[in-house]
Symmetry: C2
Subunit: 421 residues, 2 copies
């Protein structure tokens, strides 16, 4: 038997949560542990207590609302995402995973849907890392013991507590945590002894589902990626007095290097490959001085390690090279392998969408999510819903109420399939 969530209740949640941190331009700014985030958390508590859920919090201010199951002693099934946003973000990234989890519990409560396992909705603290970097901070801490060593090393609890507010360098994440009314006990953290499986519903943040006219993305993996810094070293000289043939112009060299990367990477003929040069730093960055240093980032994502390696070979071919008399150096900043979600859970999501008659497709996640860290701890998977025009991390971010409700219905039935295992 298939169950469906309530469009009206879903719409009410979307409208309600959109008020907490509203910018007045259709979006929100709702930093982790901010007063605006506390408003959203308070709304979560109010609605979950109304259906009889038990509320718990852990030492990182993660929150858990649980409906007990019929068989005592079984592990919990958890649905989770985050309520914090980037600056001038939208009303769906993160919060939709919490709202659809709430909707699943509300539908179960309203219809007295039987379930053996306790079912939990979770709020992860500080996924975006917009105020207290890095992103995925708290899932990185909670899952630290089971993460690969190089990733775990970037999310040590003691380092994360020292993370400084980007708006006020005198304030740390620990200060914000200590001041939070939602800080609880460490024993309440997500853990594999008490939890058997995790689902995270999220907006796609890209245009693939919309272009394919599918309402559900059955997520199979989070793409492996690497991040490099590419630097060109020239010579700073006066704009008016240095003949062109003598110049070592690091910006011209970097522009040529950047075009070279595009040409060579595009020759690989991999339309599913994505790579981005999003950050560029110039020194001394004065209009009358030839730049002596340019440093830009390249972020490369693909499921297949062989394809990533081919791109890496192209990036590394610049190392030590001279372009326009400027030496190039490349340096690894960050890399991770593709994280595959649990096959059985992926199957439950696919079957639920098919059985509900909701258009769907397999998709991978180019973005990082807390679920990718949780997947090292327990069977985990994700569900995507479409992002209008592919936009995310901006105020025009939009997913229709129908699509949000469809996502909740798919998650509800996938959770119930998991419950029957």
């Amino acid at each position: 038997m298939m169950f469906k969530c309530s469009k009206n209740r879903m719409e009410d949640k979307i409208k309600t949560f959109a008020q907490y941190g509203a910018t007045g331009n259709g979006g929100i700014t709702r930093y982790a542990l901010s007063p605006e985030a506390n408003q959203a958390r308070g709304e979560f508590v109010k609605r979950m207590e109304a259906i009889g859920a038990i509320i718990e919090t852990d030492d990182l201010a993660n929150m858990y609302a649980t409906l007990e199951g019929t068989e005592p002693g079984l592990k919990r099934i958890v649905m989770g995402s985050h309520v914090d946003s980037v600056k001038n973000g939208g009303n769906y990234d993160g919060i939709l995973g919490v709202m659809t989890g709430m909707e699943v519990l509300e539908t179960i409560a309203e219809n007295n849907i039987p379930h053996r396992h306790p079912i939990t909705v979770m709020i992860w603290t500080n996924e975006e890392g917009s105020l207290y970097p890095p992103a995925l901070m708290v899932s990185g801490v909670v899952c630290n013991d089971v993460l690969p060593a190089d990733i775990a090393g970037k999310y040590k609890m003691e380092d994360m507590l020292k993370s400084k507010s980007v708006l006020d360098k005198t304030k740390t994440f620990k200060d914000a945590l200590d001041a939070s009314p939602y800080k609880g006990e460490k024993k309440n953290r997500l853990n594999p002894d008490d939890y058997m499986a995790m689902f995270e519903l999220h907006v796609e943040q890209g245009p693939i589902l919309e272009d394919a006219k599918n309402d559900i993305g059955v997520v199979t993996c989070v793409l492996g990626m690497f991040n490099y810094r590419i630097r060109f070293f020239g010579q700073a000289d006066h704009a008016g007095t240095t003949p062109m043939h003598k110049r070592q112009d690091a910006l011209y060299a970097a522009a040529k290097g950047l075009c070279y990367l595009h040409e060579e990477i595009d020759k690989l003929g991999r339309p599913e490959l994505v790579y981005t040069t999003g950050e560029i730093v110039c020194h001394p960055c004065v209009h009358t001085v030839i730049p002596d240093m340019i440093d830009f980032s390249i972020d490369v994502r693909h499921e297949d390690p062989e394809v990533r390696q081919k791109v890496l070979d192209i990036v590394k071919s610049l190392d030590g090279k001279e372009i326009e008399r400027c030496r190039c150096e490349v340096e690894l900043a960050w890399a991770r392998d593709t994280v595959y979600f649990d096959e059985e859970l992926v199957g439950f999501v696919k079957d639920s969408a098919d059985e509900l008659g909701i258009s769907n497709q397999y998709i991978n996640s180019g973005a990082g999510h807390d679920a990718q860290f949780a997947s090292y701890m327990m069977p985990t998977t994700m569900i995507f819903v479409p992002s209008k025009d592919g936009h995310s991390h901006c105020e025009p971010e939009y997913t229709s109420v129908e699509q949000c409700t469809a996502g909740a219905s798919v998650m509800l039935n996938a959770v119930l399939k998991t419950d029957k295992k």
Copy 2:
């Protein structure tokens, strides 16, 4: 009869002034009106009073040291440059023009060289504009009445007084001026009623003299130039979720645009043309976000307005163009015509160098100098000495004592030729 300056005295001045604001790495940081600049000014006063020069200051803290001439009522001949430097600058830019002027007066005093006109050495306040922008601030104010309207408008006294310290936004140029022990009366300003001609000796700041093995550059003009901002507008999207063919990557577009400019401008086949893209601004400049705006500067300098126009046509050809689905806009920031120096004074410099047997050539100035503004007020010219490896505005800036002394000797004889007019 030809006169020569003293190498030993010149060397002593170079070593002495290099102490005021010394960075410990061979260079100086000596901002306008700073304690370090006051040390240099004090040294100037001490040495000029020692030869019987009269010291005057004006309301902008410009300083004048004058040796009276033999014929009463004649106008003064002035040699001037500045004692302020850029951050981590060298020991020659600006200060060498003051030291060679002092050396000229010292040689005249020591040898009792007869001269009809009063001869003055001048220190211009705040040429670099490193602490209080813009560059050429005070000559822009002093010469304001005679400058072309579009340039004069950028140097209005009331605006300049409000210029904020780049290190302390609560402090203005007026505050620094009011606190200066060298602030005097407005009537003492350089003016065409009291002064008949101006010379400025400066380091070339480029490699042309060194490459040609010439010790003196007979400067004929300050190159005309224009500055444009070139902007590309894209769409900020997520690095991991946006397919390449949908992207509007403003940085990729800008890199292509920058390479296009180099290719097209180089086709003009003008080796004496210089152009520089020194500043680049990226938005939002996050490694996981596709840039939606890139803004870079282009600074183009050439003596001939027809050549500048050809380059401008290339720059403007980008306006409204689409590259990689990003729209380009170009905007004029600043332009000036070539400023030609006084033909007679240029001839005096050339003849002096030839008669002294000092290797020399005609050269133009790619950089801006206070002399270019003074030239609107009275006959003016400049003398260049070589810059080792063409470096300037940096600590390795260097000109040999022999070349500095040769420059002083050329200026001395050119001043004496002017005096005989």
